[in-house]
Amino acid sequence: MSARSLEGARGGPSSEIQLRGLEKSFRGPDGPIRAVRGIDVEIAAGETVALLGPNGAGKSTTIDMLLGLLEPDAGSVSVFGRPPSQAIARGAVGGMLQTGTLIRDLSVRELVTMIASLYPSPLGVREALELAGIGDISGQRTQKLSGGQTQRVRLAVALVSDPQLLVLDEPTVALDVESRHAFWTTMRAFAARGKTIVFATHYLEEADAYADRAVLMAHGAIVADGPTTEIRAMVGTRTLRATLPGVELDALAALPGVSGAERRGDAIVLHCADSDAAIRALLAAHPDARDIEIAAAGLEQAFLQLTGDGGASARGEA
């Protein structure tokens, strides 16, 4: 009921999008499948948030509920202080859904014009096409585009409404590296206009490079939520790599600051909670260690560690 404030939550630093206690199950062949098992997310105005997780984590189901395409079994969704359907009716939301293409028999410009006409204060069609980088194919028929071009037209369809909130479900899946890069360049330019962006991805590097914050999902639950730097810090912060043949792994794992050790050929890799303590202890015990590298753990490692086993129990405290 707090969702009924007259002007929404616009302008304030408070969260503009709230998912509270969301749950959704589907009927499966072996009884119900709990796709989303009670998640809470708050997103502030202007944030770019990645919903990150492997296939089947519940990302698309969450996005469908955020957009009002699915009714949650339990919990509530509030977008700018309103139910999603009302926020959408006001033209405040733009979306690019998973696995879609375009309707045929219209030119790119005609299609974008058609969609723009449904909104109260859209961008100019030319501006949307330029922003999506498809000004040069605006006269082409939609059924004659390449996969990358199709995705960019879909992006223009989502952008032309000039939405406050842009929701993208796996937007770069099936794009080559170059198209992906171009796509995110566009997205950055759009985010710079103060827009809120939520995107689902299973590409860790995308979350790392383009999001302010990552919400990690696995098995329908959130396993971590925070800035990507913080998520990395939540697991063994750094890895220490050195060439050091013939050493007992157990002895290495017992060194101060080390949380785990593994061998890769002649090299050893130490996962360190405190890499400073670990390097001192390592060199004291094994002065012959060479080719030493210390690196921050990738989001990938954090991801595997957080979602690896059963996931649902490993709720992070970020």
Binding site: G91, R104, D105
Partner: protein, 244 residues
């Protein structure tokens, strides 16, 4: 009113060539092939109606039914590419969505109807202006349940299954409606036909006999189908928010 949206939807539909082959070309060719040699038959099968008039309206019923139901094919294709879900996250209201779908279907039906009128006139069909108007009015009214049926099927079936469903459905509705030959005025088949909306479409040709082409029964059947199928179409649309 979503006028710009409607304009592009119409444009897009007109650009689809398959439609013109199926719901325009096919009935036109059949009309000339079947009615051409029988153009001088004044009373077709005891119906009291000339062969060309009967077949003109029969083929018009066939073509307009196909045109109305072809919206189902378009909707199924749109759903398959995720466009239906994309539209639902725009401010387009369901009411406007239905209005555009129905008007698009009517535009296609009207093209089919006028082409058959022209074909009929070329084989000597001649009616008074009042009769042309009343007949057209009845046909357009009689198409309302088919508009709803097309939308309903579009939201229930896939592009793969809707082709055979529409092809078979239209053929059956045409046969039972008396598109190909008059069904007589009593008996089981006639009784069954009277409950089917396509029968009343074909009956629109009876304006040439003077009096009301549709009995009270006709109006009741049409209104009942309209209400039933509109509710079913709305239900199918509301349920259809998932990924296809």
């Amino acid at each position: 009113m979503a006028l710009v949206y409607m304009r592009y939807e119409l444009l897009r539909t007109l650009r689809n060539r398959r439609f013109f082959l199926l719901s325009l070309g096919f009935p036109l060719i059949l009309f000339f092939v079947v009615a051409g040699p029988n153009r001088n038959v004044r009373d077709f099968g005891g119906s009291g109606i000339s062969f060309p008039l009967y077949y003109m309206v029969g083929m018009a019923a066939f073509g307009t039914m196909s045109a109305m139901l072809s919206s189902g094919g378009r909707i199924a294709a749109e759903r398959a590419v995720g466009w239906n879900r994309q539209l639902r996250i725009t401010p387009l209201k369901p009411r406007a969505y239905f209005r555009v779908k129905v008007l698009t279907a009517y535009m296609m039906a009207l093209i089919s109807l006028l082409a058959l009128y022209a074909a009929g006139a070329s084989l000597g069909v001649s009616l008074s202006a009042g009769e042309w108007l009343r007949m057209t009015g009845l046909i357009l009214l009689g198409l309302v349940p088919f508009a709803a049926l097309g939308i309903m099927l579009g939201h229930l079936l896939t592009p793969d299954s809707i082709g055979p469903a529409l092809g078979g459905g239209v053929s059956l509705l045409a046969l039972l409606g008396g598109v190909w030959f008059p069904l007589g005025s009593h008996g089981f088949l006639h009784g069954l036909a009277e409950l089917i909306p396509s029968y009343w479409l074909v009956r629109a040709s009876h304006v040439a006999l003077g009096g009301a082409a549709w009995s009270t029964m006709g109006w009741v059947v049409m209104i009942a189908w309209t209400l039933l199928l509109s509710a079913a179409a709305a239900h199918a649309y509301r349920r259809d928010t998932g990924r296809v």
